[in-house]
């Protein structure tokens, strides 16, 4: 039974990679307009325009590109960043009382032609009692939350280790994430030029590209330690200065990426849409399953390294007390370099996965940096396993917020940040933090 499931999974995985890459080459960067019209024809009555209906437009990867509300003519004109196909969704909760859309009718795909834009018309009917309960979505929400938490965790373990060993809140960590994803995106473009796009070929191409991306992130992180942080520590420059320097580095690198990668978010060349594999109430794409397992393995490896190996012991010794560690013969500088390299590799890997979940954009690392800080603060600053707990909490919180307040999903990040501030009020040392570290 188990082996059949496994075979089924791998077969669907194969087929799914063979899907056409929807976003391999975005030709246009010009804005186009989608005109959405919402109307209602009462029985035997005249056509009525429906005002105040909330509309969301998402691109094929599921990220929101435009939002709006219909005017008194029942029309909303929304700008989308390019031509191509988009999904237009109306929020059933925003419809006037007594009106509703049929099951599965609340969203439709619109093809936008360059220069002409696109149209979506919604004809409302009488409201029907709600069929699908919210509760049935809960298992999937929790799964997504844990998965998102794992992705944040692999990025923030490095941030936390760096903080623990050097005391630096590294604001350039977000850019390490971006470099991992962007370089993977660039390399996946090179590989896609030669050979087949889909199937195992595509998977291998992306894996090879990922190695390049993670390598670049590791190199970036290590180079910063050697060229900036180590000399600064030698000169006795304080932590506040170093924090501001990390902000400056983050800013420079971010805009260098924007200058040469562009402002348009893109997917990897091998990216395609996939069908869900169902595990009971939870449907997962092979892609999400694979990346979830990769994240879990990476975290397991880090945990093993920290607990079982000599290097890990040295890292923990340096984070507890650098001076004491160096008197016992630990080469502190080498341990710190190891932490930067490790943290860079993990951040790069997290960036690659995050780029698969959403899209690869020049400011993706900056966007997730605050969630990473929230995670390590929640878990207790400077405690690597606290970072894991905090990340899972943040991931779950973000997804549960989106589930609970389904019409306020744009505020889900806000919810996680708010939760962090509230936790600090009552338990300032974080979930796993030691009390004496604070204040």
């Amino acid at each position: 039974m188990a082996s059949t499931t496994f075979r089924k999974v791998s077969r669907i995985g194969l087929a799914a990679f063979a899907f056409i890459a929807l976003f391999s080459g975005t030709a246009h960067a010009d804005e186009e307009t989608i005109q959405v019209r919402v109307q209602h024809t009462p029985e035997g009555g005249k056509k009525e325009q429906v005002e105040g209906v909330e509309i969301t437009i998402t691109d094929p990867s599921g990220s929101v590109v435009a939002e709006g509300v219909t005017d008194e003519k029942g029309v909303a004109r929304l700008a989308v960043p390019s031509d191509g196909s988009f999904t237009v969704t109306i929020d059933p909760a925003s419809l006037p009382e007594g009106l509703g859309v049929g099951e599965g009718q609340e969203s439709r795909t619109v093809t936008v032609t360059a220069g002409l834009g696109g149209n979506a018309n919604f004809n409302l009917g009488e409201a029907t009692p709600k069929a699908a309960s919210k509760l049935s979505l809960l298992p999937k929400t929790i799964f997504n939350g844990i998965r998102f938490g794992l992705v944040i965790a692999i990025m923030s373990v490095g941030l936390s280790l760096i903080y623990a060993t050097t005391g630096l809140s590294n604001f350039a960590h977000g850019e390490t994430v971006t470099i991992g994803a962007v370089m993977t995106g660039v390399a996946s473009g090179w590989f896609a030029l030669s050979g087949a796009k889909g199937g195992w070929g595509g998977f291998m191409q992306l894996s090879a590209a990922m190695i390049i991306g993670v390598g670049c992130a590791t190199a970036f992180s290590g180079a910063l330690e050697l060229a900036v942080w180590r000399p600064m520590r030698r000169r006795g420059i304080g932590l506040t200065s170093m924090m501001i320097v990390s902000i400056g580095i983050a800013m420079s690198v971010r805009f260098i990426i924007q200058m040469y990668y562009g402002s348009q978010p893109r997917s990897y060349a091998q990216f395609g849409s996939q069908q869900n594999i169902n595990f009971g109430p939870i449907g997962v794409t092979p892609r999400d399953l694979t990346t979830g397992i990769v994240a879990l393995l990476a975290l397991g490896a880090v945990g093993y390294l920290l607990i079982k190996t000599r290097t890990g012991k040295a890292i923990r010794a340096v984070s507890d007390n650098p001076d004491l560690a160096s008197t016992t013969g630990i080469n502190t500088e080498r341990v710190i370099l190891t932490v930067w390299l490790l943290g860079g590799a993990l951040a790069g890997l997290g960036g690659v996965i995050f780029g698969l979940d959403e899209q690869v954009s020049w400011n993706m690392g900056t966007k997730i940096l605050l969630l990473m800080f929230a995670a390590i603060t929640l878990g207790g600053l400077g405690r690597p396993f606290g970072a894991l707990v905090g990340s899972l909490a943040v991931g779950l919180f973000v997804q549960l917020w989106a589930w609970l307040f389904s019409s306020y999903t744009d505020l889900k990040t806000m919810g996680a940040l708010l939760a962090m501030i509230l936790v600090l009020l009552f338990r300032p040392q974080g979930i796993l933090g030691k009390k004496e570290r604070v204040g």
Partner: protein, 332 residues
């Protein structure tokens, strides 16, 4: 070339420079005098900006009646931030303030609140009162600044803005010479020592956070009035980081720091933008297109700012005119 220089000069004294200068005066109170790592100055500016725009648009207030709203709203924001964090280590304040600023920005961006905040497009047409009070000697005229023409509205906002800059600078200068200011600086140098002298460190930090926050709020107010638009895009995390760059440039913990810093900063930004635009426009001297072209040269200024911030903090932490012995941050 004279066009470029006059644009740069206008940048140095224009509304944006004034707004950032006010935000920097406030941040200087936090960071320069008290040693508080406030990374949410954008949040204070946002509160100030929306405190002006929202009552005027939603409840038809006079814009002058919103001045107390700016003060009260920024003070409340400071209290909300300070209570959970000021007893903790300084990095907690940094993370909480940056998060709180981001929370506010997300909140005013959400389409659900479009009727109150205008969502991402923000609020327009709340500046009629400013337009109507332009004094007679300016009305309908444009003031030349070398080759740049400044409109009567801009000129009037600049006068109001520089008045605020002078007011707050003198205020901060005299406050910092008072016993109160000396306690603040002792907290910056050694918090435990201040505490052992019987000073209520928490209360001093809180008043400093409120004072700097209110000044930052006025910065945001001037910014939205100058742009005639209050939108979340003006108050990204970037805002705070630029403010840091400005006070490091001008000198941390000095009264003239924010003024000098903001003027030099916006002069350089405008000049470099103009030069790069000139060098990528397809005529005369041109940069190679693989370096930059007309579509991406505008990002270069932020690379410049980031690199400049790094070099300043490492090599001239006292600011460009400062004295190394007067370096005010990171003394521990």
């Amino acid at each position: 070339m004279s066009q470029t220089i006059s644009n740069g000069l206008f940048g140095a004294i224009g509304v944006t420079a004034i707004a950032y200068c006010l935000a920097a005066i406030g941040l200087n109170v936090h960071f320069g005098y008290t040693g508080l790592l406030n990374f949410g100055q954008a949040g204070f500016a946002l509160v100030g900006g929306y405190a002006v725009a929202m009552p005027v648009m939603n409840w038809q207030w006079s814009i002058w009646a919103t001045i107390p709203v700016v003060i009260i709203a920024s003070s409340i924001f400071a209290l909300l931030l300070g209570i959970p964090t000021l007893r903790l280590r300084s990095d907690y304040l940094a993370i909480v303030t940056i998060a709180a600023a981001e929370i506010l920005r997300l909140l005013v961006s959400t389409p659900k609140l479009v009727h109150v905040t205008g969502a991402t497009d923000g609020i327009n047409s709340f500046t009629n009162d400013i337009q109507n009070t332009i004094p007679g000697f300016l009305k309908g005229k444009s003031v030349p600044l070398w080759e740049k023409q400044i409109s009567d509205y801009e000129m009037w906002v600049m006068i109001l803005g520089w008045f605020l800059v002078v007011l707050f600078s003198v205020g901060v200068w005299s406050l910092m010479r008072s016993p109160w200011g000396r306690v603040l600086r002792s907290i910056r140098e050694d918090e435990d020592a201040a505490r052992s002298l019987g000073k209520n460190v928490f209360a001093y930090k809180m008043t400093s956070l409120v004072l700097g926050g209110v000044i930052g709020g006025f910065g945001g107010a001037i910014l939205v009035i100058g742009q005639r638009n209050a939108s979340p895009g003006s108050f990204q995390t970037q805002f705070t980081f630029l403010t840091y760059a400005i006070i490091v440039l001008g000198g941390v913990g000095k009264v003239k720091g924010p003024i000098v810093g903001a003027m030099i900063f916006w002069f350089m930004i405008n000049v470099s933008d103009n030069l790069l635009a000139d060098w990528t426009d397809g005529s005369g001297f041109q940069l190679p297109t693989w370096v930059m072209d007309s579509s991406n040269f505008s990002f270069f200024r932020w690379i410049l700012v980031g690199t400049g911030l790094v070099l300043l903090v490492i090599f001239r932490p006292q600011g460009i005119f400062g004295d190394k012995r007067e370096q005010a941050f990171d003394v521990r």
